[in-house]
């Protein structure tokens, strides 16, 4: 019988400091009018000052091992997606200088291998994922599931950590962003959150995130609706069977539109974190699922659909049975 891997643990880490949308506007870190962003549902975001992406990744993964009393030596693989190479060890104010490390001997200093050492994942092989932007953690989970099925791995730890360098503002296509890290444990024989389907669509035509902003914005909705429909079908579900949608925390308005287009008549959108932490590049969907499970909103057996878009351009859906 083919295994049906699932997600048995989720942890995340946010920076110590948070800022309101108004504060970000005053600091000149937004492109859009703060009133518009507030109307889109954003209120506060986490802003790393002293934390590096690596610090956040380590915090999230350590918390997971600690909270769930997981023996690090039982992890078979570590999949890391997020800030690459030397920049992962940079504080936001130092990001530009540290990026030069990509061009010298620091080029081969990787956050993933350091995580393996710092966490004591002695038996874990390490893979790094790149170029999936906000869908990196979904890509990692997809790969983890495949490794569990194809290679018989029992436990795969997926970690993603991302930040905005100090000079980069805090807005991505009119979405306010938090620095954050997320850790997700995929187990071959998980009893909860079984991964029953997934679809990922990449459209290389839209690779130029800056130069093709208009085209990306216009293609977002029809492609997202298409991927959601395909994900539901891939899971073997009927649209009316979906109980929850765990979103990526882009604007509440865009989700209101997409939710209508998705035509999932009985589903509810778990959108509490849009206001609280905004959009993280590291793993909105799983951060939301963790909070929704902790808060009791999502019950065992609920059918949960995740969707996220990542620059590049990637539209990804994942179907779970909680």
């Amino acid at each position: 019988m083919i295994a049906c891997p699932g997600i048995s643990a989720i942890s995340y880490a946010l920076p110590a400091v948070s800022r309101s949308v108004r504060e970000l506007a005053v600091a000149g870190l937004l492109d859009s009018d703060p009133e518009v962003l507030e109307r889109f549902g954003f209120e506060r975001v986490g802003v790393a000052i002293e934390e590096t992406p690596y610090d956040l990744a380590l915090a999230a993964a350590s918390a997971m091992l600690r909270e769930h009393d997981i023996d690090p030596s039982t992890i078979d693989a570590l999949l890391y997606g997020g800030a690459p190479g030397a920049i992962a060890f940079a504080k936001p104010r130092d990001a530009a200088a540290m990026a030069s490390g990509l061009c010298d001997g620091h080029r081969f200093e990787y956050p993933a291998t350091r995580l393996q050492f710092d966490l004591g994942l002695d038996n874990a092989t390490v893979l790094g994922l790149d170029q999936l932007a906000c869908t990196a953690i979904l890509g990692a989970v997809r790969l983890a599931r495949a490794l569990c099925i194809a290679e018989g791995l029992e436990r795969v730890l997926c970690v993603s950590s991302e930040f905005y360098p100090a000079a980069a503002g805090r807005e991505a296509i009119s979405n306010c962003t938090s620095d954050a890290a997320c850790a997700v444990l995929v187990e071959r024989n998980a009893t909860r959150n079984r991964i029953v389907g997934g679809v990922s669509v990449t459209k290389g035509f839209f690779w130029g995130a800056g130069s093709m902003r208009d085209e990306v914005m216009a293609s977002y909705f029809p492609t997202a609706a298409h991927v959601i429909r395909r994900t539901v079908a891939n899971a073997g579900w009927q649209p009316e069977a979906v109980n929850w949608v765990m979103p990526h925390n882009v604007s509440a308005t865009s989700w209101e539109i997409l939710f209508r287009l998705a035509a999932l008549p009985n589903a509810r959108l778990w959108s509490d974190n849009i206001r609280r932490i905004g959009h993280t590049l590291a793993g909105d969907n799983f951060i939301n699922l963790r909070d929704a499970l902790d808060g009791g909103a999502v019950k065992a057996g609920d059918k949960v659909l995740m969707f996220a878009y990542g620059y590049g351009a990637h539209w990804t859906g994942l179907a779970l049975e909680a």
Binding site: D214, E215, A218, T223
Partner: protein, 353 residues
């Protein structure tokens, strides 16, 4: 039988040229006067073009010319209009409503006139839904844009002021003839290019949405017949595809099949627009208004003047027009694919005859 002496406005436009050519070819027509703002193709009329402007009192026509028109004209054919969908109501009225009023006033003195043909649009029905009969009264509100409203108001004026009126209401004209040749780009072509470019992701519609489109050839044939046919005073004619209108789903299939024939477009992986209800479409418009670039805002704004019609499905009845012409309009499906193929460059652009 007295032959017609026609006075035609809008004769330099796409449909106007074709109507005038048909009138000139008729043995029932002795003379055609055409009004033109910036000159006209005099070789296709029996008199030099008359310089004038609908926005001027007396249409700006010299008194001696007006006297001659008053003596000779038997038939008025009013085609001229500002057809922009994006204009303000004041701008639309200045040409379409007030221009018609000025022509009515001017022709009041033309004692031989026995037919006054007003070329309107099927979309004076505005956002009504269901079957729109040719004899239905005009709505008093609820249009998608200022163009439709100004044309409806002009129709009302003509009906009120004349007893010899004939109203011709073409549907959207999308190409010259069944070859799909496009001699003049209009809002429909510009909209299709936005969808081709991937800048328009949604269509507001219902399961019953239809697209009614006709060719210049058909519309001109209908209008010319409305000018010349006997005993049709106080009748309205829908020169529309009617039962040959295309269901939106079919139109999208045909359109995107044509898009897919363009190899460069196929590689882009642009998804066809998602069909949705008007409320969702409005939400999207608002979001783009709030944070979109000028380019996308402009695209949405230009679509917003007529695309919402799709959410108000209607079918234009064509009984009177069919009886007048002895046949129905060519079904939209008979030329739509050819038109789109030319628009996106899948086939060499056909030269106008």
């Amino acid at each position: 039988m007295t032959k017609h002496c026609c006075f035609v406005t809008g004769a330099t436009g796409l449909v106007g040229r074709e109507v005038v050519a048909r009138l000139l070819a008729s043995p029932e027509v002795e003379r055609v006067y055409v009004l033109a703002r910036g000159g006209a193709n005099g070789s296709r009329v029996t008199a030099p073009p008359l310089h004038g402007d609908l926005r001027l009192d007396g249409l700006g026509i010299a008194p001696d010319v007006r006297a001659r028109l008053a003596r000779e004209v038997t038939t008025v054919v009013h085609l001229a209009a500002n057809t922009s969908f994006s204009q303000s109501l004041d701008e639309a009225r200045a040409t379409n409503t007030d221009g018609t009023r000025r022509l009515l006033e001017l022709s009041d003195d033309w004692t031989h006139v026995s037919r006054w043909v007003y070329v309107s649009t099927a979309f004076v029905a505005g956002l009504r839904t269901g079957t729109i009969l040719e004899e239905d009264s005009l709505p008093v509100s609820g249009w998608a844009n200022a163009y439709e409203q100004s044309k409806a108001e002009a129709e009302m004026l003509v009906r009120a002021e004349r007893t010899d009126w004939v109203i011709a209401r073409p549907a959207t004209i999308v190409c010259d003839d069944s070859s799909g040749r496009i001699s003049q780009m209009n809002a429909v072509h510009r909209a299709l290019r936005l969808y081709f470019g991937g800048l328009a992701p949604m269509l507001p519609c219902t399961d019953q949405s239809l697209v009614d489109a006709v060719t210049t050839e058909y519309a001109a044939r209908g209008i010319a017949r409305a000018v010349l046919a006997p005993d049709i005073a106080r009748h309205t004619f829908h020169f529309c595809a009617g039962l040959g209108a295309m269901p939106l789903s079919e139109l999208l299939d045909v359109t995107y099949d044509a898009f897919l024939r363009a190899p460069a477009w196929r590689r882009k992986g642009i998804v066809r627009p998602v069909r949705t209800d008007l409320a969702t479409y409005r939400l999207f418009e608002q979001a783009i208004h709030d944070v979109g670039s000028d380019r996308v805002r402009q695209a949405l704004r230009s679509l917003g003047h007529f695309v919402p019609h799709l959410a108000y499905p209607k079918r234009f009845a064509t009984d009177a027009a069919d009886a007048l012409l002895g046949d129905s309009a060519p079904p939209a499906a008979s030329f739509w694919a050819s038109m789109v193929n030319q628009l996106v460059g899948n086939v060499p652009v056909l030269e106008a005859a």
